[in-house]
């Protein structure tokens, strides 16, 4: 059965266990579930931060994540896929992003989750601003995230 992706962009937190249960409940064709949780750390480049605020481009973010989720479903034999990205103010220790990939076997689940995370880091239209005692500033993009995303490009 072809998987449908669940995609949500929301201010509210999410519960990883609840999302895994929603993806796997009643299914006996799933042998592997990989989850990636991205969590707000308490420092950025060695400096403590009080919070991150995530801005996004709503229409484009949904369309782009959907397009990449569909690409993952076409490239790997997935039984399920969930992508949740939070926006708004997030304090250290809180969740930012969740990717769940389910498949009959582990390799597809790992690869699809990594593919989607690499995409979200480098190319999804979200921007992080950090709050610290020095004020607020926009977090700079990393070249290594572009390189990680580029490794999935089909030649």
């Amino acid at each position: 059965m072809a998987a449908n992706a669940t995609i949500r962009i929301q201010q509210a937190d999410f519960d990883v266990g609840h999302e895994i249960a929603a993806l796997t409940k009643g299914r006996i064709d799933i042998g592997a579930v990989v989850s990636f949780s991205g969590i707000c750390r308490g420092s950025e480049n060695g400096e403590p931060i009080a919070a991150l605020t995530l801005e996004h481009y709503p229409d484009m973010a949904e369309a782009e994540i959907k397009r990449h989720a569909d690409e993952a479903i076409s490239r790997w034999p997935l039984s399920g896929l969930t992508v949740i990205h939070r926006v708004g103010r997030i304090v250290p220790g809180e969740n930012i992003v969740l990717v769940l990939a389910a498949s009959a076997h582990r390799q597809a689940a790992f690869e699809a989750a990594e593919f989607l995370m690499d995409y979200l880091k480098a190319n999804a239209p979200f921007w992080k601003r950090e709050e610290s005692t020095a004020g607020t500033s926009w977090i700079e993009a990393h070249d290594h995230d572009d390189a990680a995303a580029a490794r999935w490009t089909k030649s």
């Binding site: 229409d59 484009m60 979200f126 921007w127």
Partner: protein, 83 residues
């Protein structure tokens, strides 16, 4: 066409979106950036380093040589930092 700005591009320009009608000789995304940069100090500041500016036409990433003809919505923003 509708033009949208995000993150520090939005902050520097001081608005999130506007509707603009660039002249007919502004045909590519790169030319649109050049035209916008001349609209005032806030625009000049936002677009002072054009190579770091990313653009999307109708919700799809495009390069600076993309044609803007027919675009309903063009967005400008810094490199993405989601995930």
């Amino acid at each position: 066409m509708k033009v949208k700005y995000f993150a520090w591009v939005r902050e520097r320009i001081g608005k999130a979106e506007e509707t603009l009608e660039p002249p007919a000789d502004v045909r590519t995304v790169g030319e649109l950036i050049g035209w916008l940069a001349q609209r005032g100090e806030t625009y000049a500041y936002a677009f002072e380093t054009p190579r770091v500016i990313r653009a999307a036409i109708d919700h799809t990433h495009v390069k600076s040589d993309a044609m803007i003809s027919g675009a309903r919505e063009i967005a400008f923003f810094p490199p993405m930092t989601g995930g």
